[in-house]
């Protein structure tokens, strides 16, 4: 066991972090009062593509862990970028790079709201008994507007899946594993960012002559939160490494359950400022709120965990 990045992994990690750090500024809702729903990191997308970072999972000497680092590090930016589908789920599922962004959805969610669908060029669908991979060209996609800091879309009509590429029944559990890990990584990143942001804020914000962060009531909650965040991070990386059903389900479960307390605490501690769209916090917390419901939410991950752990008699 060795829980540190190898020197190659460290180099990849540092390069990604460097690129992401150039893309941390989001435009705010200003005088127009028109909410900025989200801000897509187009330039970061190009930078990463140029460095072939989206292909890490399939690069000689690299694999799921390296791709996981990409998903995690890009997820910490308040700008949004689709990496879980394009760099992790897609390549590891199909063995090839797919046109990005890549949206991933359950059949029953296609006509409701799917992350990234209004921008996606590839759509991966969990059909229940099969997995379909299709180009979004010619699909009737309607963008959905929301405060959830993600591009969202839905299909007006369901496509003809018989014509689409099908990966077979055996691909279903593989897709769900990868998807759960991707979800856990994205969640870990946004949780960490929200807690980091809040920690910095409570160090500066003075009340009654002392920093908000010097009150033990605040300290204990943030400390419990950082424990949760670190747990999500390690569970997600372990799951990326192992590719196991149980690890993936556990990571997604812990991740989705960590969202409620952390969303609450980070918003509380930012005070009224955190309620405005002029503050950065909601770009993470609102994303988290959407991630919390993905793949059926924590109860589905719990059922998957139980199935993967105690299935026998």
């Amino acid at each position: 066991m060795d829980l540190e990045l190898t020197s190659d992994q460290r180099a990849i990690h540092d390069a990604i972090v460097q690129m992401v750090s150039n893309h941390m500024d989001v435009p705010r809702s200003g005088a127009t009062l028109k909410p900025v729903e989200y801000c897509y990191a187009d330039q970061l997308d190009r930078d990463l593509a140029e460095g072939e970072f989206f292909s890490l999972a399939l690069t000689e000497g690299c694999g799921a862990l390296e791709a996981a680092l990409l998903v995690y590090e890009t997820g910490r930016s308040p700008l949004v970028l689709e990496t879980a589908g394009a760099a992790f789920i897609g390549p590891l599922l199909t063995g090839r790079d797919l046109p990005r962004p890549v949206a991933v959805a359950r059949l029953e969610d296609l006509t409701r709201a799917v992350r990234f669908l209004d921008r996606a060029r590839t759509l991966i669908v969990d059909l229940g008994d099969d997995v379909a991979v299709l180009s979004t060209d010619g699909l009737a996609v309607e963008p959905i507007h929301s405060m959830f800091a993600y591009p969202l879309g839905r299909l007006m009509t369901l496509p003809d899946f018989t014509a689409a590429e099908r990966l077979g029944a055996a691909a279903v559990p593989r897709l769900r594993r990868l998807w759960r890990v991707g979800l856990a990584l994205e969640t870990a990143a946004a949780l960490q960012a929200a807690v980091d942001f809040t920690t910095a804020y409570v160090k500066d914000r003075l009340v009654f002559g002392r920093p908000v962060g010097s009150y033990q009531a605040v300290q204990h909650r943030l400390s419990a939160d950082i424990q949760r965040v670190r747990a999500v991070y390690w569970l997600a990386l372990k799951a990326a490494w192992s590719g196991g059903d149980q690890d993936a389900a556990l990571a997604a479960l812990y991740a989705q359950q960590a969202i409620t307390p952390i969303n609450y605490d980070t918003h509380q501690f930012n005070g009224a400022l955190g309620m405005t769209l002029e503050h950065t916090l909601h770009f993470w917390t609102f994303r988290l709120r959407l991630l919390q419901g993905e793949m059926g939410g924590a109860r589905t991950q719990a059922a998957a965990t139980v199935a993967a752990t105690w299935a026998g008699a």
Binding site: A113, M147, L206, A217, T260, Y264, G271, G293
Partner: protein
């Protein structure tokens, strides 16, 4: 002990319900985006003399005990119409207690009839929970008070007539002992209002004061004497601060929505709904404690803190549960569930944060020292 409404109270409740019926849903989540509608509604209340239920009779009020105001605003919250207006509550009650005869004559009547809307100017960028550290200055000169500084988070300031301003008239370091209350015309020269978008989809305002002049006769009560008056008015309003039927309304919205989508067939959903129903009852119990503690300041303060904390926790839990059951359709702005979730997030901050409420319970209720 008498845990039932009197026949007079029941009759009043029936009258309230009948009166409110046509106004149901006016302020979707008690935010009142339809400002013209709200003004019309407050005027209609004025006609019934219901904005002044608790005021003394010789000030144009009905002189009724607090339970009547409670019943009215509780029903109002249930019907999602409006919150108690600042004007007829804190503003009027402070003027009745501390105002001069001239001030009473000038302000009470248009407030009673629902003519005048007030906004609250307490918080500042550097003074929220720690209100006594506020810095907006009012210098007394020949033409009146000259105001300079910044206020923030004033709800509805963009649509109101006057601001109930808390400002510093004493020494910089005077803290609570150097504060005064002024009524400021929101169209006064030198006052700039900047609306800010908030997550609920609504706005609150930042207010910049640049040599704004306020006539001396718009100071209510003694100079530097605001703190005591504020505490008194806080006590006056405890019973309507967070009506339990607001909590019930949120619960019913979520329950009905879950049933409409067949989600209640799921045992996990049923169990959660049942747990939340118990929490709703707990909030009702807290509200009754607030009512019965009226007159005993410490007990009422603890009960009100517990009520605010429990109620805001509960509405957030209700909204969150809905999102958890939620089919993804619940998650986009079109659906009321999602809007409910965003709106409830603010309730644990505005009007005193949950952490401050908890501190009150710890200090006053449990006798714990910081």
């Amino acid at each position: 002990m008498q845990l039932a409404y009197s026949s007079a109270e029941r009759a009043f409740l029936a009258e309230v319900r009948a009166f409110l019926a046509p106004w149901r849903g006016l302020g979707q989540y008690l935010q009142g985006r339809d400002h013209a509608g709200l003004r019309a509604f407050y005027k209609a209340l004025g006609v019934k003399n219901w904005l002044s239920l608790g005021w003394p009779v010789d000030h144009g009020g009905r002189g009724l005990p607090p339970i009547y105001e409670f019943l009215l605003w509780d029903e109002m919250a249930h019907a999602r119409i409006a919150r108690p207006p600042l004007s007829a509550g804190i503003v009027a009650k402070t003027i009745i207690r501390y105002g001069t005869d001239a001030q009473k004559a000038r302000w009470l009547e248009p407030i009673r009839t629902g003519e005048l809307m007030f906004s609250l100017g307490y918080s500042e960028p550097e003074a929220g929970s720690d209100l006594a550290s506020l810095r907006t200055r009012a210098e007394l000169g020949p033409e009146g008070y000259r105001i300079n500084g910044t206020k923030i988070w004033s709800s509805s300031a963009q649509d109101s007539d006057y601001l109930w301003l808390l400002c510093r008239t004493g020494e910089v370091a005077s803290r609570a002992a150097g504060l005064s209350l002024l009524i400021v015309d929101l169209r006064a020269p030198g006052l700039r209002i900047r609306p800010m978008a908030k997550m609920s989809g609504n706005v609150f305002c930042e207010l910049f004061f640049d040599d704004v002049i306020v006539p001396v006769d718009q100071r209510i009560g003694p100079q530097d004497g605001a703190w005591k008056m504020m505490n008194a008015s806080l006590a006056d309003e405890r019973h309507v601060q967070f009506p339990p039927k607001r909590v019930l309304a949120d619960y019913e919205t979520v329950r009905d929505w879950a049933m409409a989508h067949g989600l209640d067939r799921d045992p996990v959903v049923r169990e959660r709904l049942a747990e939340l129903a118990v929490d709703v009852l707990e909030c009702q119990a807290h509200a009754l404690r607030v009512l019965t503690a009226q007159g005993d300041d410490v007990r009422a303060s603890i009960a009100a803190a517990a009520n605010k904390r429990a109620s805001t926790d509960t509405i957030q839990a209700i909204a969150r549960a809905a999102m958890d059951f939620g089919i993804p359709a619940a998650l986009t702005t079109a659906a009321p569930i999602e809007q409910l979730w965003r709106q409830t997030l603010e309730e644990s901050l505005g009007g005193g944060t949950t952490e401050i409420m908890t501190s009150i319970i710890a200090r006053q209720g449990l006798g714990l020292k910081a």
